[in-house]
Structure formats: structure tokens, C-alpha cells
Amino acid sequence: MTTDGNSWNPTRRRLLQAGAVLGTAQLASPFVQLARAADVVRIGMDNPLTGTYAALGKNEQTGAQMAVDQINAKGGILGRKVELLIEDSTSGDAGVAVQKARKLIDRDQVNFIIGNVNSALAQAIANVANEKRVFHVVPGGHTDSVTGKNCHWSTFRVCNTTQTEANAVASALVKKAGKKWYYLTPDYAFGHTLQAGLEAAGKKLGVTKVGGALTPLGTTDFSSYLIKAQAANPDVIIFLQAGDDAVNALKQAVQFGLNKRFHLAGAQQELEVLEGLPPEARVGTWVFEWYWNQPNVPHVADFVAETRKRTGGHVPTARHYFGHTAIWTCALAAQKANSLDAVKMARAMQGFELPPEIALMPDGAFYRAGQNQMIGDLYVGHAQSKGASDPEDLFVVDQVVDGKKVSPTLAETMCHQDWPKA
């Protein structure tokens, strides 16, 4: 202490306050962004990490991170290191998804944007990406319009359109179960288009719709819908729910004993859902978009082994595959265009055939020109309560359907792309 009268005399309270301020400043440091090196390629992932699609979103993220690590191990994108930025879009709030997309594009200056599991959110992000001219990949949001009526030159999609899935599964259902169908449909874009797709595919095979109910996203109690379905006395009750909704719906249907009286089925099914079900509820005819147990397809075993290392021994699901393929799509686009310009990259990807170690499907996969939709194989089969060789082998592939044969034609998709004049 100096003897000066105006000396700074720290009281205990002052010191505590200063300590608190310093402590807060430490917390704030990630917010105060350090200048980022310009030699980094950034990929923004705007995907659900909370809510009904959290499990699917996290698996896509694991697959994406794996792809990023693979790309970095091979020297990055155009010689630059790749960095994956993650944002939670929530499972159903498109306002948040849009805000996060703008944050990634405007603040973080990402070169690519990935998202979303929820079709509605995928469409919302696609519109932002198109407005901002950012290369966008939808890993797993299925509604037709994303690469159909509302398609953009800037948006590419890995997972199938709902119409393709419906076409793939419809004939198997008629053969196995019958022609009177009842629909339980989640009340948003994905559900609506999936039902419309099944109705269109079914009509060609002489299927009649005996009824249907729309269930809000996030429904936990399906009993009233199941009673209605029962009363309609169909051959097949079609479940179009995804994520936790599908788990709840199927679990309750089996508790009601509906699987003994009707054929339970649906279009799209996921390993996450089957794993979430009690063994007796793993029933029905479904279509998988990718399945890990493909002993005759090269590179699949490597992909499974590498995923197991990251997931504590779990096999990859279609969601891991989507995330992985989405990131590799970005890397391959930059490589082929030899540029990070979104328009040049999108042009380079028209009709692009994915290399076999990325496609991981018996007939390969490519991005259809004029629509930016990936077309690969689909796996039609039935669920089983217990795997013979592996506890996670819960699906039996009865038939691999070539996507080229069941996809709607380019004219049928009604996709019209407005390319910017360069």
C-alpha cells in the first residue's frame, strides 16, 4: 500500500466482484471468437440434437464426424483442413433451424451446410442456403418437394424421396398382406407425402384405402388412433411415423395385440426404431435405405468396423451412412470442381457417380442431374425380434431394389432448377 490518500484500497467485496467478472470472462472466451485461420474449410451441421429426432440426428453427426476425420487424414479438402461446426436445430421448430442456418452462414462463414432430419426443417434450410448461395446437403429429410417441386440447384439429397420408398415397398406389401390399407400418418410434410406416395403406388396394384388418421409430431399416446384403425378392419395398418413416434406407435399396437389380427407394416423403417422396441414388437414389412449387414458388398465391412470403434461397438445405421455420405459429397464436389464456389461445385455434381467406398451399395449410387437427388439401392424386408449372428441384426433383407427402377422420372418430380447466371 502506498501512503497516498487516493490509494486504491481493495475491500473483500471488491475482490470478490473482480473475481466474478474474471470468471465470467473465462466463460465468455469461446463466444469472443479467435480469428480463424483462412486455410480451413468449414462445414456447418444444422441438425436436431434435442427432441423426437435427437437419436437420429446424433447418429448422422457421428457419421459426419467420421467422414471429416477420414477426409482430414487424406489431406483435407483442396489441401485445407476440414472443421465440422454443430448446431442444434431442434426437432420441429423451423424458426430455430433457419436462425441457426443464418448463424452458420453469416457468422461462421461455412462453405457447406448439412441438414436436416425433419423434412420441413430441411426445406427451410434449403431456402436459406439457396438465398445465400451455399452448397447444401440434406442427409435424411425425405419429403418429395426438397428435390421436387421446391428443389434448388444448391441443395443435394442423400436419402430417398418418399415416393421412391413407397414404390419400393408397395408390391411387397400387397404380396404379403393384402389390399385393404389403413394409414397412421404423422401430421407434417414427410408423413403427408409418404402417404400420398403409397396411395399412388398402391393404386397401380389395386389397393383400396379403408381409412387413415393424422397424428401430431411428438404424440406419445396412440391408443385413440389404434382403436380407430382397428374399427376400419384393414388387411394392413401402415405406420408412417419416424423416430420416437414410431417406437411409441408400434409398442402400443403390439400391446393392443393388433399384430395378431392385422399385418403391421410401413414404408420407411430405421434400425434406431427397431432397437428401441421390445423384441415382440419388432414385426412388419418395411423398407430400409441402407443396411449394415451386406456381406457381399465391398467396403461395407470396413465402414461397419470403423463405426463400431466410435459408437462403443454398435453397428452403423442408415443415419450414420447419411451423415458420412453427406460430408463426402461436399469433399468430392470441391475436388471435382477444384473450387469452393457453390455454383461450380453444384455443376460438377450433376450426374456424379459416388465411388464404391462411399456408395456402399451393390448397384452403386449417383446424383441425378437436374434434380440433385442421390439414387441408390433400397432394402425391402421384414423385422425380426432377435438377430442370429449379431444382436443388432434386427432386419432381414428379402429383396434389394435398384433405385433407378422405382424412382419417379425427372418430369414426375416436377423439379425445376433456377441456376444463377455466372
Partner: protein, 318 residues
């Protein structure tokens, strides 16, 4: 009237911060849209606080009017005429008309009953937006429209492409709305509302028509809410039914409580805290960010029941 610097210090600080925002926002790791979000959510929270803090009536259905404003502007630009001012006008009118019609049905209720009836009416609009797929886009939201530039004759405001232009556009509207709100609060009408808040029975005995005043306050509050909603839709170029959902109403109430319901600027501070915290936390801990927001809210309610502004004021008095 003499200008008292000490009394106006807070106003000056807030306006200086708001006006210079684009200059420092990027330096501290934010981005212009985040500032716009704060201004718009601040306007919404202040609109709610007109009813909640200054009239003492709790509404849990204000998101309905926020959403009506948003759908009003979106549908006008999409279906009627690609004009931003017309869209804003239609959005605000939609919210105001709905509030004026619903008001008489609910002003006789008090306390939790009022809150519940407001939720019920709010959900009506939510389900209309979700079910009326062909017009509102249903759960997917209303897309394929875009805010339009404003032509003022002498010069054009390029709000379509420039985030900074849109920020100042929102800020000017915010300033007009907040100025209007402040002058209403300082009028005899505003004083009557505060009297209702402090002691409703006594106010009634003086001979004031309490229900009519609550209806008027509700109408003013919902109208400003619709304005905020319209700006929100313009910012995102997108509307979805979530903006009408009752949980969104809850978020507005949280903003008011965080900032301080008794203070004029409290809700703006609360909105800033909420928006920035959400933005920051969801990047930092993407899985659990909602947990931390809840934690902050609980901490504020426990330790600063009058909100951040209430706490600051108490400090100043001491």
C-alpha cells in the same frame, strides 16, 4: 420540462447501445442478425409487459398474436402483393382485429383463469395454421416468399440483401413502437392501468370501468405483439406454426421475468439475455442448452425475483 441527465441515463445508454450495435456486435463474436433478433424479441416482450407488468394481467397466449402478425405479413407478400409495408400493415391489423374480438370474451376472468383462457384462444390459431395446409403450408411453414425492398422515392432501403439495412429498419420500427408505448403509459390512461395493477378493487370503487381498461390494454399489447411477429417473419423470410404455439408465449413471459416486469426496459434486457444465451449455449453444449437456460431462469427467480433491472434499481437505491 428540464432534461435530467441522471434520470435519462438509462435511456441514453440503451439507445446508444442499440444504435451502435452493428459496429461492435461482430467484434464480440455476434452477428448482425443476432442483434436484429434481440430488437424484435425485445419489442415482443415489451408488448407483453404492457399487459403483464403495467396492467398486472398474465397472458399465456400472446404467441397467437405474434404468429398472426407473422402469417399476416407472409401471406400478404406471398399471395396478395409483394410489398413489405403493406404486409406489415396487414399483419398488425390481423393481430389487432383478433385481439379486439377475443378481448371482450376474456377480460372478465382474472389470474390463472385469464391465463388459461388466453392459452385456449391461442391454440385455436395454432391448429388453424397447422391444419389449413393448402394456405398456410401446415406444419412445414409458409415458404416461397421474401421480404421486399422499400422504395421511399428519394432512396431505396435494401433490406433484402443487407443485414445492416434490415437491422436499422427493425430498429426504427422498434423506436416508434416503444415511443408510442411509453407515451401511452405516461398518459392518464396509462396511469389508470397501473392503478388497476396496484389495487383493482379500489380502482373500481373510484368509478373506473376496469374491464374496459383491461380490454384496451390487451388490445394495445396484442397489436404491438403482432408488429413484432411481422418483423420476425420478415427477418426469417419464413413463418411456421411454432411461432403461434403456447410454449412461445411462455418464452415471452420468461423474457419479461428475466429482465424485470416492473421496469419499462426490463423485457428488452430479458429478451437480450434469452436470445444471446440461447444462441451462445446451443453452440457450446448443443445437447443440453435448454437445461442451462432453465437453470438461469430458476436462478433469476430465486435470487432476483424482480428481474435483472429490478436488481439494478435496488442497487442504485441502496
Amino acid at each position: 420540462m428540464k432534461f435530467d441527465l441522471r434520470q435519462n441515463a438509462l435511456n441514453i445508454v440503451i439507445w446508444v447501445l442499440l444504435i451502435t450495435m452493428p459496429a461492435w456486435m461482430n467484434a464480440i463474436g455476434g452477428y448482425t442478425q443476432l442483434g436484429t433478433q434481440v430488437v424484435i424479441m425485445g419489442l415482443a416482450a415489451m408488448a407483453l409487459n404492457f399487459l403483464l407488468g403495467h396492467t398486472g394481467v398474465l397472458s399465456f397466449g400472446h404467441a397467437a398474436y405474434f404468429g398472426l402478425g407473422a402469417y399476416g405479413v407472409g401471406m400478404t407478400i406471398r399471395y396478395l402483393d409483394a410489398s413489405t409495408p403493406l404486409g406489415l400493415l396487414v399483419g398488425v391489423l390481423a393481430g389487432a382485429v383478433a385481439a379486439a374480438l377475443i378481448g371482450p370474451l376474456i377480460v372478465r376472468r382474472r389470474g390463472v383463469y385469464f391465463a388459461m383462457v388466453t392459452i385456449a384462444f391461442g391454440q385455436v390459431f395454432y391448429f388453424i395454421a397447422v391444419r389449413w395446409n393448402t394456405v398456410t403450408g401446415g406444419d412445414d411453414g409458409l415458404t416461397n416468399w421474401h421480404r421486399q425492398n422499400i422504395d421511399l422515392g428519394l432512396f431505396k432501403i435494401n433490406i433484402m440483401d443487407s443485414a445492416i439495412h434490415f437491422y436499422y429498419f427493425a430498429l426504427v420500427i422498434f423506436a416508434l413502437a416503444v415511443g408510442l408505448m411509453a407515451s401511452i403509459l405516461h398518459s392518464p390512461f396509462g396511469r389508470t392501468l397501473i392503478a388497476i395493477r396496484e389495487n383493482e378493487r379500489r380502482t373500481r370503487f373510484i368509478g373506473i370501468n376496469v374491464n374496459f381498461h383491461i380490454w384496451m390494454s390487451w388490445l394495445v399489447s396484442c397489436t404491438f405483439m403482432a408488429l413484432a411477429g411481422a418483423l420476425f417473419a420478415l427477418q426469417n423470410n419464413f413463418v411456421d406454426p411454432h411461432s403461434l404455439y403456447w410454449t412461445q408465449s411462455g418464452i415471452f413471459v420468461i423474457m419479461c421475468v428475466l429482465g424485470g416486469m416492473r421496469s419499462f426496459w426490463g423485457p428488452l434486457v430479458g429478451a437480450a439475455i434469452y436470445v444471446v444465451l440461447q444462441d451462445y449455449l446451443s453452440s457450446l453444449v448443443s445437447d443440453y442448452w435448454q437445461f442451462f437456460i432453465g437453470l438461469v431462469f430458476v436462478a433469476v427467480v430465486l435470487f432476483f425475483p424482480r428481474g435483472v433491472m429490478g436488481m439494478l434499481r435496488r442497487r442504485a437505491v441502496e
